[in-house]
Amino acid sequence: MSVQAIVPDYRGVVRDRFENFHGNQLVYVAWDKHLMFCAPFAFPVPPEMSFKSLLTDVATDVFAVHPEFDQLDWSKAEWLLDGQPFIPQLDVALKDQGISHKSVLRFQTPELKGYMGADI
């Protein structure tokens, strides 16, 4: 049963459909083991945006406040897309490499241990 309702076949209104974001899709981005950022960030971006643009035009500004950001080499970062290992193609649109509405992108930088080496 998909809901305990007093009427038969009750269906909820899906509040976060792609269509409600005026041409954008949501992408969540997180830097693993860098808990200065308490949670992943939610970005509304066009599905046609390239991965490179997501990094340089959207994510950089938000993550650059981290003291280790200067040492971050995007080309060495390891990625997970919705929990699965993922190799991004920089010049390809998000939608053309499986990054869909409400996908989670996590990047890992094993050589960077966070502030005071404490995963922060």
Binding site: L26, C38, V65
Partner: protein, 508 residues
């Protein structure tokens, strides 16, 4: 006519027992020309089987006339103290102006939920076929209305002198962190009448309420806030009644039919989890917002849940009820959640309706002492980092909005409890859309009723859909949340609250 007169005369001589019977059980009647099922249309759809309402034992033998009398006496005492508090400038006696932010959180986060509890109990007080249950719920409904009123009155003194108290009723439906308690009650109120009573009456009022009221009221006492202490005392006898109702409903449902047991267990699992997620805010308040600490969140959890709740569930075992599903996980969480939550609020301090701050060195040492296994290892370095950035004039506020859990609506701030350096991610795809959760508990709840939670009004997504004004966060805060931007939000250091306090106290 004559007959009525006789009844009135006789009523004066009724024994308490007779009066009780007439004013409660006797308020019901037999349905001669309507089907009883049409009169109580919500009684069966949840799958709960009631075979005999007369087996309901009224949890408190109180009639309406006695109820009014007791409550009126309590009101008189309460308002006398509130008057004295105002006349003596009681707000100047609080331990530290940071304390006031704890009651800003109470007024905006808890008081509106008293009102929702009032609405919820008024609704279910109409829906049960048994008159005893209806009367008990109606009384609790009036109690809850009284609570929101006395809380607002008690805190109104602070509204004259501190920022952040002015738009609590507007904020409750809109502000990102207030959607956590608000959606909790929306979830309960949109459920059937039996689930509501297990959710609010049992899981919240009976199992978890001490973890809400004791910390806030003791916190008020420890920090010189007589107004809040007094409404706490004034609500205490009501709370005792509410707890009795919560326990009665569980025993009644379990004794009525064995088919009720798995349904009730599922609701206990769900609402225990939702309740502990909600109480994260209380844990953070205890460990970080009270200048004079009462006890740590961890200690409170051990006393009020592990000991008291453990005994309760032992008692319920004879009905086939077991400990809530994620109780063992929560035992690990008590080491972490308050720290993870206050860091979230601190780093989003530009978007909160109260002030945030770095704990003092003394407070950091207190946290190390209370959390010897976790604080120095995982959480102290965050505050060292914050101190360094602040000293460099770069007080840290995050620049984008966080991802939220679909069920509890809390930012995805919780870690795996066996790896506190790794955010916990859970997700599912339902009808082609992806949904995210902070925990297995929240994912389970979604999975059980996806058509309910696809409707979650997630504040971050609503902002990004353009439904909360804008275009920028600052306009959302000022125009949609009704914050006084620059006064209500940002760090305690340099705030108007702090400046005024220093003037009153004559310190530079």
């Amino acid at each position: 006519m004559n007959k009525n007169k006789v009844t009135t005369m006789a009523a004066k001589k009724l024994s308490l027992k007779e009066k009780y019977s007439l004013l409660t059980r006797d308020l019901d009647w037999e349905f001669s020309y309507q089907d009883r099922k049409d009169a109580f249309p919500m009684e069966e759809f949840e799958g709960i089987k009631i075979t005999d309402w007369s087996k309901w034992e009224d949890p408190f033998r109180l009639t309406m006339d006695a109820y009014w009398k007791y409550q009126a006496e309590k009101e008189k005492k309460l308002y006398a103290i509130l008057d004295a508090f105002a006349q003596n400038n009681g707000h100047l006696n609080v331990s530290d102006p940071r304390y006031v932010n704890a009651i800003k959180l109470f007024l905006t986060g808890i008081s509106p939920q008293e009102y929702q509890a009032h609405q919820g109990f008024a609704h279910i007080g109409r829906q049960y076929g048994g008159v005893g249950a209806r009367i008990a719920c109606q009384m609790q409904s009036i109690d809850e209305l009284r609570h929101v009123q006395t809380q607002v009155h008690a805190m109104s003194q602070f509204n004259k002198y501190f920022d952040g108290f002015q738009s609590w009723s507007n904020m409750q439906d809109r502000v990102w962190y207030l959607s956590v308690p608000t959606s909790f009650f929306h979830d309960a109120r949109s459920a059937g009448p039996f689930e509501f009573l297990v959710a609010i009456g049992f899981s919240f009022e009976y199992v978890l309420t001490n973890l809400l009221f004791v910390p806030f009221m003791s916190g008020a006492a420890y920090n010189g806030d007589m107004a809040t202490v007094t409404f706490g005392f004034s609500a205490q006898s009501d709370e005792a009644r509410h707890m009795t109702l919560g326990l009665e409903v569980i025993k009644f449902l379990l004794e009525q039919h064995e088919d009720n047991v798995p349904i009730v267990q599922k609701w206990i699992d769900k609402w225990f989890w939702r309740g502990t997620r909600l109480l994260t805010l209380v844990g953070m308040m205890m460990d970080y917002m009270l200048p004079n600490k009462v006890m740590s969140w961890k200690e409170a959890w051990e006393v009020y849940f592990e000991e008291a709740g453990g005994a309760l569930f032992k008692d319920l075992a004879r009905y086939g009820i077991t400990m809530p599903k994620y109780a063992a996980l929560v035992e690990k969480e008590k080491e972490h959640i308050s720290h993870q939550a206050w860091w979230t609020f601190y780093t989003h301090g530009h978007a909160t309706g109260f002030h945030t701050w770095i704990p003092t060195d003394e407070e950091l040492d207190w946290l190390s002492e209370k959390y010897p296994e976790t604080f120095d290892k995982y959480y102290r370095p965050r505050w060292e980092m914050a101190k360094k950035l602040e000293a460099e004039g770069k007080r840290f506020y995050t620049k984008a909005l966080p991802q939220l859990c679909t069920t509890c609506q809390i930012p995805m701030l919780f870690t795996e409890m066996d790896d506190p350096t790794q955010i916990a991610y859970r997700d599912t795809v339902y009808n082609g859309d992806r949904y995210h959760f902070c925990s297995d508990g929240c994912k389970d709840i979604f999975h059980d009723e996806p058509e309910k939670y696809v409707q979650s009004w997630l504040p971050v997504h609503q902002i990004l859909q353009g439904n909360c004004g804008g275009p920028g966060v600052e306009q959302v805060l000022s125009d949609y949340y009704h914050f006084n931007v620059g006064a209500d939000n940002m760090d305690m250091k340099g705030s108007p609250d702090e400046k005024r306090w220093k003037q009153w106290k004559g310190v530079a």
